[in-house]
């Protein structure tokens, strides 16, 4: 807070200073020796950084990963404090399909090595964080990823150069003052700076990052926990049985992930306190804005909650400060607490980025994330991409982009974009005759994991060829970039396209909604558009939508209004292969979009004319093969 004020105060001179220092900073190493150059620099050897390193390595690119710790995954070496990951490690699905199984494996990174699946590292459904550290270490070692450990990048700045891929280089300076010059900067540093709220008495508050994890330390104590996320509840869960009571305080109401289908909200595995609160035990939840609070320590070392407002009124000794219960004798937090613990989550470390990079925060509702486009490229400087947890502003509280099982796919999408932008490798695609159209879609919606995890963020795109006799299939394209598809992928979309997305029903879920209402599922194919659970939705466009159309699409729509839309009715088993319930309506939709017949026929039937269509022309038969 104080720092921010200083910066504002010194704003204009500071800017001048930067300009003055700027040539000095980059010229000095240039004079001695040119800084070592890399095409790609990855900041951070966490899951996202390693995932990107893997793709760069497979493509044979010039890259390096910078990691301040001696081993990968340093965040997981410390967090979660109570060591239990809440990402599921489902080892059995009853299916052999490896791609499908990734839908229920939330911890593995993508690689060609079947040994590098997380299920080989833990048998627990909610695995231990230590296993994740071991896994990430193995991932980096087995795949021989180029990681520079013990290298802390302290400062990142820009060096304008017309020759550079993006018109500038990124200059990374490490703790020894050594500079590294990079054409593309991939920031995968995650969120690791603990969120703090500044209020009077906040110095009395213990942080999640350092609080004791030994329940013995909490025996018979009154505990107040600030925060309402998974870390807060995880902390409460650990000491639930030994404290007198636990009160939890936060600004917003609790958001349960099974009601919001957002994995970042409170997971059922951590919500034991809710159970006891509602079952009239002494624990409880309260809502209030933390910035209005003040914590006062009395002579016994106990903590009292009061309002900042009262503190400003009087400037008296601790014991004489007005407490809410003085006026309002049934004030909820009138008891004294032995401990106050802050579990408010983390934010992105903006401090190492020079202002010239214009890396700013995402705005009021996702301050903790840097601002990026739907392509994960920073809005401020071309060639700077944010990967992994830090890139979650794109789908915060919507999809899984902030978690391993989601960002392993968004990282792949960024890599595909870079391959085309800098190496003229078009977005991978497969080409098929139109007779395979229904098949291609059915196959993907039934097995694709990227579509399933990153629903409404990454979507498959089918580009039709002239006269719709053939099509190209592109996987997992960032759907909000649809208007720029041709420049990003290097593929042509002149003859119409389909977008295959997975969606929950609108208005189905939300923090206050009853998601178990009667009749919540839809069975009839004609009501498929009202499906509530995750189900495939296919958009048909005659022309690629424009940027304007994407930006000003109707509220609640994942994409601009299409020419036609199809919902495949939700399925309890997420198995969309029913011949009449799923495939037949899909075929009818595709047929009507393309104004053609996509059925197959038996040659025997054709011989006797059972297929009346072919009477009009022999040409029909050729469509078979």
């Amino acid at each position: 807070m104080r720092l921010a004020a200083a910066a504002r105060l010194w704003g204009p001179p500071g800017l001048l200073l930067t300009f003055a220092l700027h040539p000095a900073l980059c010229l000095r190493p240039a004079r001695t020796a040119a800084p070592p150059h890399r095409d790609y620099c990855v900041l951070g050897a966490g899951p996202a950084g390693l995932q990107m390193a893997y793709f760069l390595q497979r493509a044979g690119r010039d890259y390096a990963v910078f990691e301040r710790a001696p081993r990968p995954g340093s965040f997981f070496a410390r967090y979660p404090r109570h060591r239990r990951l809440i990402s599921i490690n489902k080892r059995h699905t009853g299916k052999a399909n490896a791609e499908f199984n990734l839908r229920h494996d939330w911890n593995s990174l993508l690689s060609h090595d079947p040994q590098l699946l997380f299920r080989h590292y833990s048998r627990a459904y909610f695995p231990d964080a230590g296993d994740m550290v071991r896994y990430l270490g193995d991932f980096a070692d087995r795949l021989r990823l180029r990681v520079l450990y013990n290298t802390t990048i302290a400062h990142v700045t820009l060096d304008k150069d017309r020759q550079a891929w993006n018109g500038h280089y990124f200059i990374l300076t490490d703790q020894t003052g050594q500079a590294h010059r990079c054409s593309v900067l991939l920031v995968a540093t995650g969120l690791w700076v603990p969120n703090q709220v500044d209020f009077p008495g906040s110095e009395h508050v213990e942080g999640y990052e350092s609080v004791s994890v030994d329940p013995k330390d909490f025996e018979g104590q009154n505990v107040l926990i600030l925060g309402r996320g998974n870390s807060a509840f995880e902390t409460a869960e650990n000491i639930l049985g030994v404290t007198n009571f636990i009160h939890m305080l936060s600004r917003s109401r609790v958001r349960l992930s099974w009601a919001t289908h957002y994995v970042g909200d409170l997971r059922a595995i951590n919500n034991g306190l809710l159970d006891t609160y509602q079952l009239k035990s002494l624990d409880g939840l309260l809502e209030s804005d933390l910035t209005d609070l003040a914590v006062v320590k009395d002579h016994e070392g106990k903590f009292h909650i009061t309002l900042k407002f009262f503190l400003e009124e009087s400037n008296q000794s601790a014991d004489a400060i007005t407490l809410p219960q003085d006026d309002n004798d049934n004030f909820a937090m009138r008891v004294a607490y032995d401990r106050v613990i802050r579990c408010l989550g983390w934010k992105f470390d903006f401090s190492i980025f020079n202002k010239s990079l214009r890396l700013s925060s995402s705005g009021e509702f996702s301050k903790k994330y840097p601002l990026v486009k739907a392509s994960y490229e920073s809005k401020g400087s071309r060639g700077l991409f944010v990967l992994g947890t830090a890139s979650h502003s794109v789908d915060y509280r919507k999809s899984a982009g902030g978690f391993i099982h989601g960002f392993r796919y968004t990282v792949r999408a960024v890599h595909r974009l870079l391959e085309h932008r800098h190496h003229h490798v078009p977005w991978p695609s497969t080409e098929h005759p139109i007779s395979q159209l229904t098949n291609s879609i059915v196959r993907r919606v039934n097995e694709a994991s990227g579509l399933y995890q990153m629903f409404s963020v990454l979507a498959d795109v089918i580009l039709l060829k002239e006269n719709a006799t053939a099509f190209e299939y592109l996987e997992e394209f960032p759907m909000q970039m649809l208007a720029q598809l041709e420049t990003i992928t290097g593929r042509k979309a002149q003859h119409g396209l389909f977008v295959i997305n997975m969606e929950y029903g609108r208005n189905f879920s939300g923090p206050d909604k009853d998601v178990f209402f009667y009749d919540r599922s839809v069975g009839h194919t004609e009501d498929a558009w009202q499906s509530n659970f995750l189900h495939p939705v296919i958009y048909y466009y005659r022309h690629l939508p424009t940027e304007q159309e994407v930006r000003f699409r109707p509220a609640d729509w994942a994409l601009p209004r299409p020419t036609a839309i199809h919902h495949i009715v939700e399925d309890f088993l997420t198995d969309w292969t029913a011949p009449v319930g799923h495939i037949l309506p899909l075929r009818r939709f595709l047929e009507n979009c393309l104004d053609t017949d996509l059925r197959s026929f038996y040659a025997e039937a054709m011989k006797v004319g059972a297929a009346p269509l072919i009477i009009t022309g022999l040409a029909a038969v050729t469509r078979q093969k």
């Binding site: 791609e99 009202q530 037949l584 038996y602 040409a619 050729t622």
Partner: protein, 820 residues
Amino acid sequence: MMSSSFNIFRVGISVVIMCIFYKSAVDSLSELSPQKYFSTLQPGKASLAYFCQADSPRTSIFLEELNEAITPLQDYGISVAKVNCVKEETSRYCGKEEDLMKAYLFRGNILLREFPTDVLFDVNAIVAHVLFALLFNEVKYITTLEDLQNIENALKGKANIAFSYVRAIGTPEHRAVMEAAFVYGTTYQFVLTTETALLESIGNEDIENAHLYFFHCKQVLDLTLQCRRTLMEQPLTTLNIHQFIKTMEAPLLTEVTEDPQQVSTVHLQLGLPLVFIVSQQATYEADRRTAEWVAWRLLGKAGVLLLLRDSLEVDIPQHSNVIFRRAEEGVPVEFLVLDDIDSLISHVESNVHIEEIQEDEDEDTKSPNMDVQDDEVAETVYRDRKRPLPLELTVELTEETFNTTVVASDSIVLFYAGWQAVSMAFLQSYIDLAIKLKGTSTMLLTRVNCADWSDLCTKQNVTEFPVVKMYKEGKNPVSYVGMLGTEDLLKFIQLRISCPVNITSVQEAEEYLSGELYKDLISYSSVSVLGLFSPNMTTAKEDFTEAGNYLKGYAITGIYSEEDVLILSDKYAATLPALLLSRHKEGKIESIPLANSHAQDIIQIITNALLETFPEITVENLPIYLRLQKPLLILFSDGSINPQYKKAILMLVKEKHLDSLTPCWLNLKNTPVGRGILQSYFDTMPPLPLLVVVNLHSGGQVFAFPSDQAITEQNLLLWLKKLEAGLENHITILPAQEWKPPLPAYDFLSMMDAAASQHPTRKDPECTKEMDVQENDKKQHEDKSAIIKEPIETLRIKHWNRSNWFKEGEKSFRHDNKEL
């Protein structure tokens, strides 16, 4: 409960119609001046106007009837008005005297018909006459048997006919027929007569009553045959005709393997019983014939189904051969043991009493047949889903076993997806092949289910289903691209000898060329290819070997490059390097020089050589010949071809007159669909044999060789020259894109729009007003909120892009029925 949901449906319909015709007056006769009236006419919209003197009495019998006709006519988009002829505005439609006043029917501002008021004697007559005038093209009025026969002949193989006899124009029966024609007129040819003689001549003496016959002409391909006729036995009302036509549309015979209690067909919804003929595998063919016979007898009275006992899970009594299920819900099925068809028919007929359409609350608004599988492959696969396949005859491979297996033994691998219908249909053929080859082949037949082993399939470059690949020593897999059937795949496997075969002596080469060497393979390939090279032509040999490898499974190729190769090249007049093509059928050996030909060229040369010069075209080989992208010159022949004609055409080929065409012939005995093709070219079946040029790839014109000319080399050549010079007229042009979607899809976009705009709709003054009026006038007392709660009901009836006039009419027709 039932009635309330029914009313919701009714209102939903009204909204649709009202929004479209909201400009027309509702239910009370609008009175306009002539000028005003003509200014309201809209292009394409029909309007009935009664012109009368301004000072005429306010009410008359005619006006009362006209008033009553407003609502029914509005349902068909026809507005009704009374025009007052005031003195200031004279109109030629205004008669001089009261009793000369007439009603006029306009479409836009074009006068279609004028009606003296005494013709429009009641509401039925008004509706009947107006629709009759509007549907002038859809409903053919005839007077003689000859007319009927002409129509019948013209429609054989094309469309079915609804023929009706009514005693007079303007009767309630006539109205019912016209209302049906309004809905079904584009699907069926409606034919109407009032001639008693005509009715009698087709064998019906009951001239006192109206009758409707359904002529099943669509499946009649032989012009000499008569169309089957089904007489509608119920009285002619709109509801009964609709129901009758629905049963005519239903499949004649359905095969089922489900519990008879669970089966649902359109018959049940129409209140008709179901008759299940119980069959078993052993007697299937005979049972099917019986069932078809029964189905014809009971057409319009009951639905007939063939039930396969073997694949049924529920128990049915051992001896019963027929199961009878009434339309009423909750009545248990009857298991019958019947000795002959007649007792079956009489049992059904004595039990049938036609009742009103049962309102099935769940199914009532389903779009017609959209959920019915119309992909025959998917249909049969689904039907047979419980019939176990002897899969053990083929080896199932997984990601773990795949590599070791295909390395260890020469393998055929079928890559398929368990959920895909074509895959599963082909798997059946593949198993048949395994049965055929059991114990005789060294080839291992294996399969990979890509629904399970997705990564493996991707690695093997399999991105479509189904795919067959042949692996020898685990490498260079050869993909199979033939028809997905046992025979063709068998040929592919049999021809797998490691090509090209190395021939080591001149004598062996001669045996190879004569077909002696690979006698057993000649039936699979009519051409043997031998490459001749001097020992030092290394690159040429490599190219040839590569081509031979590529063609493995499609052609027999051999290579000879010994020192004495000149003996062969001299004998067959070939310049080295060269190809010798031995056509076993024709006993001919030709040589083709190979200088500077790359593997790709060699493949092309051999592929072309495999094509016959004058093949018999079949469904199976047509795609190969179409790939040449040339117009087809087809000789249609009933039975085998006249050698004279063959000679003439081969002569033309030899003289290179047919280079721009693909000459072929079609044997109607082997390929009966040829008859249908000819009919679409000629309308009526022409005399055979017949020569036709079909330009499929550009334009789609069809030219016929004059049937009065003999098919000789000279005549043909002359005709082809004229054709080339553009002097011949085509007999027909094949439509460019006839490969249309068989049925519409759900239009989710408009359903979503309707749901989103539902509350705003209430604010829309025009639509809302109409809806309210509709409600009041129909005296429907249901809670209005119920309408809002049930948007889906309204939406389900909307069709993809089918909001045109007739379809709306169809809907109104349907709801009318339900209300009756």
